[in-house]
Structure formats: structure tokens, C-alpha cells
């Protein structure tokens, strides 16, 4: 197991976490997504990996971004991982306790710049599945369902998905289209998906390997996944997160 005991005096008082492969993997996926956020944007944040994206954006890359959670919490400082969109840790750092209607209305009005989502599957059309999986033997495995994912996908000005590095999650056609990449009006829909190795954009309507960490190989990433994607002619090489950033992710994920 790769461990990393990088230290930083910025995190005074918080116990330094043991940096596991899992933490590094999540940090890499989240960092890749966070790089897509511009400062001052308003983000609608799902639970799981999207919270780490929000945390890295807010604490490092885009310090003036506005975070919104579906429970109605707004202007949140996402300092520790919340288990639900209404968790006490984010309720305590929210500057506004609104309602679910308030935040979905913001979304529908077109005021959410970026929706941050994870899913069980994403396909080459940019559709997301969080409802059910069909196993090889044909059995159906139920998942918790859309929650706000369908709504965010249709209504956010732009959606960035963030996923673990699991080939079964990247498919040509999702088993169930929970969140169709059919954005309302002239909104952008699913703009791309970040994962621990790379970032695929959907600029052409199909996945293109657009950005890759400098310690990864484009061909092998592209081939490792279970979907038909292409490699961009203008592939961008990104330095992977390290040091303070990884440690910050470790603290975030630990103190939940």
C-alpha cells in the first residue's frame, strides 16, 4: 500500500491522516473535476465524490465558489465529508438554511453553473445510471435511485460527473437511464467525466479523452474502460495532485 505522510502547517490541530491508495484515487478524480470549476461559480453538490470536488474547489482552486446542497443548505463551507445533503457538519457551516424547493428552483432558473454528480454508470451518450444494474447473469440489482441526479442533469447549466476508476462504470449504454443527457433549453448537459486517471469531455456528444495525469498513459486508460471513446488530438497533460492537496483530501475524508 502506498502511504504518504506529507505534512503541512495549514492543517493545525487536525490529526494527520494515513494516506491510503483509496484516498489518493479519490483525490485524483476530485482534483481533475475541480479543475473544471471556475472561481465564483455556483455549484450544486451531490453526496460522495462530488463533496471532495467541492472541498478542493472551495479550499484551494476556486475560493469564491458558492456551494448548494439539495436539502436546502446554501453558502456552505464544505470542510468535512457530509454523509447526507442535510448533515449537521454542513448545516453548521451554511450561511443560509433554505428549503429543498429553494435550491431546486435555483437549479431550474438556470443559476447553477455546475452540477457535480457521481453515478453507478455513465455511457457514451453522457447518460447516468443510479437506479439499477443488470448483472452478467441477468439479475437486477436495485440502487437507491435518482434522488436529485435526474433533475440536476437536466437543469444545471453544466454537469461534471466524477467517478471511481472502475471499467464497469464506463459503458456504451447504461443499464437504466436515470439521468438523461437531455439538458433543458440551451443548457450544456453533461460536459465531462473526471476519474482518477483522466478527464473525458463530451464536447462532441461522445467521450473524448481530453486530459490525463502525467503519470498515466492515454492509450492504456482509454482501452481499460468499457466504452468507445477517443483520444483528443490536443490531449492535455495534467500534473497529479500531491503533498498538501492529497493530505487535505485525506483529512476531509477522514473527519466525516
Amino acid at each position: 500500500m502506498n502511504t504518504n505522510t506529507a505534512s503541512s502547517d495549514k492543517n493545525n490541530g487536525l490529526e494527520k491522516p494515513l494516506i491510503t491508495d483509496e484516498i489518493i484515487s479519490q483525490a485524483r478524480a476530485a482534483f481533475m473535476a475541480a479543475r473544471e470549476i471556475k472561481d465564483h461559480q455556483t455549484l450544486f453538490v451531490g453526496i460522495g465524490l462530488p463533496c471532495l470536488v467541492a472541498h478542493l474547489s472551495q479550499s484551494i482552486l476556486s475560493p469564491n465558489c458558492h456551494l448548494v446542497f439539495e436539502s436546502g443548505l446554501m453558502e456552505v463551507a464544505c470542510e468535512t465529508q457530509p454523509l447526507s445533503t442535510a448533515s449537521a457538519n454542513i448545516a453548521k457551516t451554511a450561511k443560509m438554511h433554505g428549503s429543498m424547493l429553494d435550491v431546486f428552483s435555483m437549479l431550474q432558473r438556470g443559476e447553477i453553473d455546475v452540477g457535480l454528480l457521481s453515478a453507478a454508470q455513465i455511457d457514451i451518450h453522457g447518460h447516468l445510471n443510479s437506479s439499477r444494474l443488470t448483472t452478467k447473469s441477468g439479475k437486477t440489482l436495485s440502487l437507491p435511485g435518482s434522488g436529485g441526479a435526474h433533475d440536476i442533469t437536466v437543469l444545471a447549466n453544466k454537469v461534471i460527473a466524477v467517478m471511481p476508476s472502475d471499467p464497469r462504470r464506463f459503458v456504451n449504454n447504461v443499464d437504466f437511464i436515470t439521468s438523461p443527457n437531455s439538458p433543458y433549453g440551451n443548457r450544456e448537459g453533461v460536459a465531462g467525466v473526471a476519474m482518477p486517471d483522466a478527464y473525458f469531455s463530451f464536447d462532441t456528444g461522445r467521450p473524448i479523452l481530453q486530459k490525463i495525469y502525467s503519470d498515466r498513459n492515454a492509450d492504456s486508460i482509454n482501452e481499460s474502460l468499457n466504452w468507445d471513446s477517443e483520444i483528443s488530438d490536443s490531449l492535455e497533460i495534467v500534473n497529479p495532485p500531491e503533498g498538501d492537496l492529497i493530505e487535505r483530501a485525506g483529512i476531509f475524508l477522514k473527519n466525516s
Binding site: G72, L73, P82, A86, K92, S99, L101, Q108, P144, G148
Partner: protein, 291 residues
Amino acid sequence: MIDKVMTAQQAVKKYIHNSDTVFIGGFGHAIAFAIAHEIVRQKKHSLHLVKTGADIVFDLLIAGGCASRLSCGWYGNPGIGMSNIIRKAVASGELALTESTNFSMMLRLHAGKLGVPFIPSPILADGDLAGSVNGIKTIKCPFTEAQYQAHSALNPDVAIIHAQRSDMNGNVQLWGSVGDTIEGCEASQKIICSVEEICESEEILLCPHLTKLPAHKVVAVIKQPFGAYPSYLHDYYQRDERYYAEYTSDTKDSLKSDEWLQTSVFDHEDFDSYLNSLPGTLLDQLAWSKS
């Protein structure tokens, strides 16, 4: 002024009827566990439960055989995993589940709150949920001719909720993260509310901006400290994280679920008795901390 204070036993007996459509208040926060326990204890059945995101209080009601229908946008143990109980009840045919999205359920409750037949929205026009959701029809905007989905009003028979406090007349004060709770209550025909504290109306008058429910629809006020346990209540107590973490294994099969129901509900005559059965210092440990 009418005194609506009664016990959970009295309120559930009087105001919740088999086959009612029931909205369960609390979203991550302030979940109406105490009243839900009483519904299970009284073996109410054939309820239609409605909610945006359905958490483990729904499992409790469904494990208890209280519900025959569930309409929601999500179900599970938030941040932890799937609901074994709901999954099994659906597979066995005991529970009819209509899966929707959180915002569609919110809009349907909001249409119920507004007293209008529907609210138009672009959601649920596409995707595999679009065909299977109840209460949605495609319409044309009379101004632009663009297509929208009409999300029809939901007006539950009764809402159960937990809040910080109320006077005896049902001026209920709730704060912290509210989620869908207010809309669900306003859409409902009547509201049963448990609270940590019953206060004088004079105290309500000091902070009327905290009053969130119209008293005329509140039919019962129940004094029940820790009535949202194991969920949290802003400014009162933290969530019992261990409970949620162990919950999935506690309910991993029918045997375990039955045991869980027995020891947490049926072994007790009321919620206080259940709270007293918890490890000695647990509730003290859950004391709210500001930071």
C-alpha cells in the same frame, strides 16, 4: 386557545387511518422517528408513504408491515447504502414502489401546497424514469408552445413531523435544515407533530419567524424529547452515527429485521421506554456541539 397536546399513542390512534397517504417529515435532519415507531406499534397498514428522499425511517415502517405503497425519488441509508428492507418488500410484491426524482416529488408536494392541480417543469421528459412515474403528463406551454411535464399535486392525508418546539395550540417552530418538510406539511390535510419542548405562546411571540407550520392544520402536539433519534435535531442533539453505520447489517435479512423491530419497537410501550433501553450515556454523548 385549543390544547392539542396528547401522547403519540393517542395521536396515531385518532389521526392515522389504514390506507392513508402519509408524508414523513424530516430530511437527514429532524426525522419523525418517535411517531413512526408508534405507527409500527399500532400495526397500521396499507399506508401510502410519500417523500422526496426516503431514509431508514421508511424501512422501519415497511419492515413493520405498515405500507403497501411508496412513492419517492430515492430510498436508502444516506451515505451508507441500499435499503435491504425496501428492496426485499418490492421483490416480494408486498410493496408497490414508484420511483421518481426528488425534485418531481418536491414539485408535486409544492403543487399540493399551492392548491393548484399541477406545476409544469422540464424534468422527466426523457430517460427511463419518464415512462414509469405516476402523476406526470406532457403539456404545451400556452405562451411559447414548448413542451413541459405537468407534475400533478400530491395532498397527503396526514404529515408526521418532529420539531424543536411548539405551543399547545400547534404553533410549531422548526429550524436547521428543512429539506422538504414544510412543503410536505403544507400539502397535507393535517399534521401530527412531536416536539422536544412545549412552550408558552408568549415564547412563540418572541420569535414568530421560527414558526413554520400553520397551527390550524396541526391536530396533535406530542411532547417527545429525542423524538428524532437516531437522526439529529439542530441545536438539540447529534445524529447517532453508530446506529446508521450498523443499521445495514442490523437489517440484512428478515430474521435480523424482525429482531430489530422487536427490540426497538414492540418491546416498548412508548418511545421513552425505547430511549431508556439505549446504553446509559448514549443520549448524553449526543449533546449538540456548536462547532
